[in-house]
């Protein structure tokens, strides 16, 4: 009897390992595959060797993206450090972005990811257990350095298998077929300091140029709707920590239907730029019921914004000549503020 108990104790260790591996392998093989955009950070683990730490866009949720119990927790600022949450994702092709996050499992979401959340400044910071990507020793540095062409950044997209209950496994990675760059035009603005009664000159942002680059080895088409309507403006929800709740005034405006003249086919390595004048009322922002105002010279440096390249949906482009070449993902620029500072 005692012999069998001792053998059982040792067998238990083997079974625990086998269970851990089998559970993940099942998700790896049968789970739905999605891609999540991320930024690689660093480092090395004493037990597991080199790995790249990943900071996902869906790892940050604003107050507006928090639902159910999380909403009330966010309002009284009492979010605990480690609570179980479910992220409802919406798909843009195979690329997923965060729709909302809740402490209850969403019934209506296309894809659900399970994670653990804690307060991260003004936002919720969510960990999905996918934040480490282990690589052979010495190979992590290439991923950390990322791919960039001058000012153009090419995002890293992680391949993830998701099970029905929201558990997930990292499968691999790819680089986005489109890179994005942001150039800011600044001007000088004079103002009087109320305390010292002296005139000071401040740098302010007046315009921005968004550059899209074909980073793939095939031709890709981008869509530039008239008056910059392929571009959205929004507060930086990815890494921003401002407590001011800015909203873009033109967020709900109808966009024109795309025509062949709006479509620009880019050869591999070719770039296309779109310039927007941030003093134009089309690009104004507002807070609550306050009157709309330009980002130009907006006071607090933590009030950061991003431009998003958001081409029309696949259904809207179906009749176009180069419909099959159009990339339908959603691509954010680097963050910038009213003082012309780019992150």
């Amino acid at each position: 009897m005692k012999t069998w108990i001792v053998i059982g104790g040792a067998a238990l260790q083997c079974l625990v390992l086998a269970y851990m591996a089998t559970e993940r392998e099942l998700i790896f093989r049968t789970g739905r595959t999605i891609y999540l955009r991320t930024a690689p950070i660093d480092p090395r683990d004493a037990f597991r060797g080199d790995f790249v730490r990943l900071d996902y866009e869906i790892g940050h949720a604003t107050t507006n993206q928090s639902r159910d119990g999380l909403r009330s927790q966010k309002q009284d600022g009492s979010t605990r450090k480690d609570i179980k949450v479910y992220a409802a994702l919406k798909m843009h092709g195979d690329l997923a972005s965060l729709d909302y996050v809740s402490d209850r499992k969403p019934a209506d979401a296309e894809v659900v990811l399970r994670g653990r959340a804690g307060q991260g400044g003004a936002n919720l910071s969510i960990r999905y257990g996918l934040e480490a990507y282990f690589v052979e020793q010495g190979k992590g540095l290439d991923l950390e350095r990322g791919r960039s062409e001058g000012e153009i950044q090419i995002p890293l997209e992680m391949e993830v298998a998701v099970s029905g209950n929201g558990k997930s496994v990292l499968k691999g990675h790819r680089w986005s077929p489109i890179g994005i760059g942001l150039a800011i035009e600044n001007d000088e603005q004079t103002a009087t300091n109320n305390l010292s009664n002296r005139t000071v000159t401040n740098r302010v942002v007046v315009a921005a140029t968004l550059t899209l680059m074909n980073a793939s080895s095939n031709a890709i088409a981008v869509v530039d709707l008239p008056q910059g309507k392929s571009i959205d403006l929004g507060p930086d929800t990815i890494r921003g920590w401002s407590r001011n709740n800015w909203a873009w005034t033109s967020a709900d405006q109808q966009r024109p239907a795309p025509t062949d003249a709006d479509v620009h086919v880019l050869k591999p390595g070719e770039k296309y730029s779109i310039r927007i004048d941030l003093r134009d009322p089309q690009w104004f922002v507002r807070q609550g019921k306050e009157p709309p105002r330009a980002i130009t010279g907006l006071g607090e440096w933590s009030d950061q914004f991003r431009l998003f390249y958001r081409p029309p949906a696949r259904e809207e482009c179906r009749q176009l000549q180069h419909a099959n070449l159009i990339w339908h993902g959603n691509l954010p620029s680097r963050a910038f503020n009213g003082g012309g500072r780019v992150d």
């Binding site: 001792v6 993940r24 653990r116 690589v135």
Partner: protein
């Protein structure tokens, strides 16, 4: 010369007497039975070397897997680690269960198996890029070692379990601010029971250290109440001292007394020395924020336990007068619980006289301990007590070097007196030893 060595020497002599015809074979046999020699002692060499070998080999395997060769397919890596784990455990258990001769080697191989189990956890995490709450890996690893330690039963496995569970508790606290009370409960309840049952002083020593560390990791709200750490360490130290006396009077494991004694007195002397500085009372040992329910429990539970244990010691040693310990120290030991009460008063009352309200009596207590230990060391020729007393006296003089003795003349005088006292102690110690021998 140990008793075993003495018996072996006498047995050698008996063989000579028998050969020379001084005693008959029957008489020689009767004499031999009077001086028994253990057939074989604990094979400590085997245990230590096989355990060390297992731990180092296991760490090597972990680092080897950490290299993460992409050339090896993931199923090959999994098969390698699972196969090696099963093979090492299989061979280890076969040797462990088969014969007493290879029992220790088998135990060492099983320890290597548990190290490989840990390597396997990290390897699976690496293959599937798992980053879910990493302290759980230490918990699973520790529980694996704990189960095997209990069912075999194996002291090295239990020691590994104690280290891993303490690491789990610490990582949870440091990285996630989570208090894992399960860790000290498992250490005291399960592994403590095993140490008691197996009469293992080594495991007990590891557990006392692991328990003290894990209790500190589970103290609530230490950002607002840093004094709680100090009080808990002091209370535990004084509790271990009380247990040092109680285990000699009760229970089936009186050999554990020196282990409790070493840990208890070391903790006590260090904390008492820190209490000699008035800054301790001024800056740390006072309540600044409101006490929550859990802070009260964490503070008062070890305090009450310590006092109860000392009441038992007092009752047994003084009122009943039943102390089987011939080398038991004198009445100075009762100053230890007194220091616990003094600290309680210090925390409840604000730091007066620049913190000297608490530190002045603690200086006197430390001086009393130093002198008592030096005196006992000389009287009973206990070198440990004499050396500890001398160190405490020198440490006290160093502590007061700057704030009491302003003039260099007095400082010099104090050091000359202390030097003379230590010379006198050496002389008295040597003389008492000579008297005992003659």
């Amino acid at each position: 010369m140990s008793l075993q060595q003495l018996h072996q020497w006498i047995r050698g002599e008996i063989d000579l007497w028998s050969r020379d015809g001084l005693v008959s074979p029957a008489q020689a046999e009767t004499l031999r039975r009077r001086y028994p020699v253990a057939e074989s002692g604990t094979a400590w060499g085997m245990i230590v070397f096989s355990s060390l070998g297992a731990v180092i080999t296991g760490l090597g395997v972990i680092l080897l897997f950490a290299y993460n060769w992409h050339a090896i397919p993931k199923f090959a890596k999994l098969a390698l680690v699972l196969g090696t784990l099963a093979a090492v455990h299989g061979l280890g258990l076969r040797l462990f269960l088969a014969s007493a001769r290879f029992r220790n080697l088998g135990e060492g191989l099983c320890l290597l198996g548990t190290m490989l189990f840990g390597a396997g956890i990290w390897l699976v995490a690496q293959i599937y890029h798992i980053e879910e709450h990493f302290p759980n890996a230490f918990l699973i690893w520790g529980l694996g070692a704990l189960v095997l330690g209990l069912v075999m039963p194996s002291i090295p496995q239990a020691i590994l379990a104690a280290i891993l569970l303490t690491t789990w508790c610490g990582v949870e606290r440091i990285e996630f601010d989570t208090l894992m009370l399960a860790a000290p409960l498992l250490l005291a309840g399960v592994l403590g029971g095993m140490a008691w049952w197996r009469k293992s002083r080594l495991l007990l020593g590891v557990l006392l250290l692991a328990f003290t560390i894990s209790i500190i990791f589970t103290l609530p709200d230490i950002d607002h109440h840093p004094w709680l750490i100090f009080c808990t360490i002091l209370n535990l130290g004084v509790l271990w001292i009380a247990l040092r006396f109680l285990v000699r009077m009760y229970g089936r494991f009186p050999e554990s007394a020196p282990v409790f004694g070493i840990f208890g007195w070391t903790i006590f002397y260090v904390t008492l020395y820190l209490l000699c500085f008035p800054d301790m009372h001024r800056h740390i040992l006072h309540i600044e924020h409101e006490l929550t329910g859990w802070v009260r429990v964490a503070w008062l539970a070890p305090f009450i336990l310590t006092l109860l244990a000392w009441l038992m010691v007092l009752w047994k040693r003084i009122l009943v007068g039943n102390d089987p310990d011939p080398d038991a120290p004198g009445f100075e030991i009762y100053l230890a619980p007194l220091v616990v009460l003094l600290v309680l008063c210090g925390i409840l009352w604000p730091a007066t006289f620049g913190g000297w309200f608490l530190s002045a009596p603690c200086n006197l207590v430390l001086l009393a301990f130093a002198l008592a230990l030096m005196a006992r060391g000389c009287r009973q020729t206990q070198p440990g007590a004499a050396i500890t007393g001398s160190i405490l006296l020198i440490a006290l003089a160093v502590a007061r070097y700057f704030d009491i003795f302003d003039s260099l003349f007095i400082r010099g005088l104090v050091f000359i007196i202390i030097g003379a006292v230590i010379f006198a102690e050496g002389y008295l110690y040597a003389r008492t030893k000579k008297c005992k021998i003659t």
